[in-house]
């Protein structure tokens, strides 16, 4: 019971975060919620091996990213903004300008920027979650940031 309570607390506190991360990667809310639910289910299946919340967070993020990648691979390519259904933004539950900007990234670039800049993991943690070398993560990250800044009009570099 104690384990279930601890898991339920962790689940309540982190569900939205995992769904949002998956949403930023897949741009598909149902797929994001499915991936998040499955990631938490897998977390519970190994709950006895989880040491603390950090460990649980790393596990569930890594699992969710793997599930997102699997889902994206299944679809082969993300739904383009301009080819999507009319209610695409509603379905994605994400602001259209951001969705359009993310849609221009590769899967790996999305995952790198979401985990590093949005979720706040260290580069080496991102590398471990994505099973990449750190240098590879940095490359993906640099290209993702460059594209997103350009697309979203984030302030220009070196103005100070």
């Amino acid at each position: 019971v104690a384990d279930a309570d601890a898991f339920d607390r962790f689940y309540r506190e982190n569900l939205a975060r995992i769904v949002r991360a998956c949403l930023l990667v897949t741009l598909d809310r149902p797929a994001a919620e499915d991936a998040a639910a499955e990631a938490f289910a897998r977390l519970w299946s190994k709950w006895s091996q989880i040491e603390d919340d950090d460990h649980a967070g790393g596990f569930v993020f890594k699992t969710a990213m793997r599930l997102c990648r699997k889902e994206m691979s299944r679809r082969r390519r993300p739904v383009p903004v301009d080819e999507g259904p009319a209610d695409w933004t509603d379905r994605a539950s994400i602001r259209q300008d951001v969705a359009a900007a993310i849609a221009g990234l590769s899967l790996r670039q999305r995952q790198a920027v979401v985990l590093r800049d949005w979720a706040g993991f260290e580069t080496k943690e991102v590398a471990r979650m994505l099973s990449m070398r750190e240098s590879t993560v940095r490359v993906h990250l640099a290209r993702a940031r460059q594209h997103l800044r350009a697309s979203l009009g984030v302030m220009k570099e070196s103005t100070t």
């Binding site: 289910a41 920027v113 949005w118 706040g120 984030v154």
Partner: protein, 373 residues
């Protein structure tokens, strides 16, 4: 503006785009946990299944490999009440009541014998253009067990294996006859060459009982030639240890000395590198003594008693620790069909008691020898 600030702004933009996404965790935790539990059970089931498959495969492979060389464990057999057959010289074997012994071969002397659990007159198949020494098993029941011991012909071409007595069914190699030479015989069957010229084969039908397989194994294990002495008839003095073995179908060995001077487990041995038990002279001290008897016999000879052995008949054949090794060799029956070598040694510090014990052992050997047929 530093890179960190620009990254932070980017993060803020991403966060702002999805901040309103707030899935309701209510009532979902339980279903997620149920899903996780199912997954855990499934995972462990898969692991258990994979392990079971792996162990099963391992077991099957082991069984298959074992089956190619060794039968499954056989039940213990009570051989009391078994009959003795000595019609195929020099062999003596024992077989259970209810089994049938069928000697075969040219008139004037059998050259083989079939021992089986079926009352059947075995014949060779009649072929239009040639002859075969194979037996015709067609029409025989599926629970048959048949042993064939013969020296009539070469029989199946099999590589002779090390022949160790007592013979073991397990040690007989499994072979499969060519389709045109099976004539209904169960395949594969076990066969080996017992040097120098005897072939031993065993067939078991697909429904042969474990009891009959065990009985056949015991029949094969009973095969021996008469020993030149009988353990039961030989009383050794206190402190002496004796072993009597048949180490080929034409030779036997008896050793008596102190226990640790007889090496390891003495097993009969026909050829190859297996150990033939003998006295380990290195473990003999100057106060020790030993008596050793080797008997060599030729096939198809009868056995007759030897005259008593007297120490004065021996001659010096060697020396150990400064004391002579005495030997008596000969053909006791004078027919040229048997030969024995008796050796004894008494250490230079052997007491009078030990010396008298040696003399008593020699006189009590009750040797039997070979005579012309």
């Amino acid at each position: 503006v530093s890179r960190d600030l620009r990254d932070q702004e980017l993060a803020d933009r991403l966060e702002a785009a999805i901040a309103h996404v707030a899935p309701d965790p209510a009532d979902r935790a339980r279903s997620v946990r149920r899903r996780g539990s199912i997954r855990r059970v499934t995972r462990w089931s898969a692991v258990a299944a994979a392990l079971a498959v792996f162990l099963g495969s391992l077991g099957w492979a082991a069984f298959a490999l074992r089956g190619s060389s060794r039968p499954t464990a056989l039940p213990a057999i009570d051989t009391s009440g078994w009959r003795t057959y000595d019609g195929l010289k020099p062999w003596v074997l024992r077989y259970p009541p209810g089994w049938h012994v069928a000697p075969y071969g040219a008139a004037g002397g059998h050259c083989g014998v079939l021992i089986s659990n079926v009352d059947h007159q075995f014949r060779h198949p009649v072929l239009p253009d040639t002859q075969t020494t194979a037996w015709d098993f067609r029409g025989l029941p599926d629970d048959l067990a048949v042993i064939d011991l013969h020296t009539c012909d070469l029989g199946p071409i099999v590589r002779p294996t090390q022949t160790i007595f007592p013979l073991s069914l397990d040690d007989l190699p499994l072979v499969t006859a060519p389709p045109n030479l099976r004539f209904g015989a169960p395949q594969p069957f076990r066969v080996t060459r017992i040097w120098p010229g005897f072939t031993l084969a065993a067939w078991f039908g697909p429904d042969a009982s474990a009891h009959d397989r065990a009985a056949a194994a015991a029949v094969i294990g009973s095969l021996q030639v008469p020993l030149p002495y009988a353990d039961a008839a030989l009383e050794l003095p206190g402190g002496w240890y004796g072993r009597s073995i048949q180490y080929s179908h034409t030779a036997a060995l008896f050793v008596a000395t102190k226990r640790d001077a007889i090496e390891g487990v003495i097993r009969g041995c026909m050829s190859g590198s297996c150990f033939i038990g003998s006295v380990n002279a290195l473990k003999l001290g100057p106060a020790d003594a030993y008596v050793q008897v080797k008997g060599f016999y030729l096939p198809r000879s009868s056995v007759t008693p030897l005259p008593p052995i007297r120490p004065e008949s021996f001659h010096r054949s060697g020396e150990w620790l400064g004391a002579p090794i005495m030997e008596l060799a000969g053909d006791p029956a004078g027919g040229g069909n048997g030969h024995f070598v008796i050796t004894y040694w008494m250490g230079p510090q052997a007491t009078a008691q030990v010396r008298s014990q040696v003399v008593n052992i020699l006189s009590g050997l009750h040797l039997v020898g070979e005579a012309a047929p």
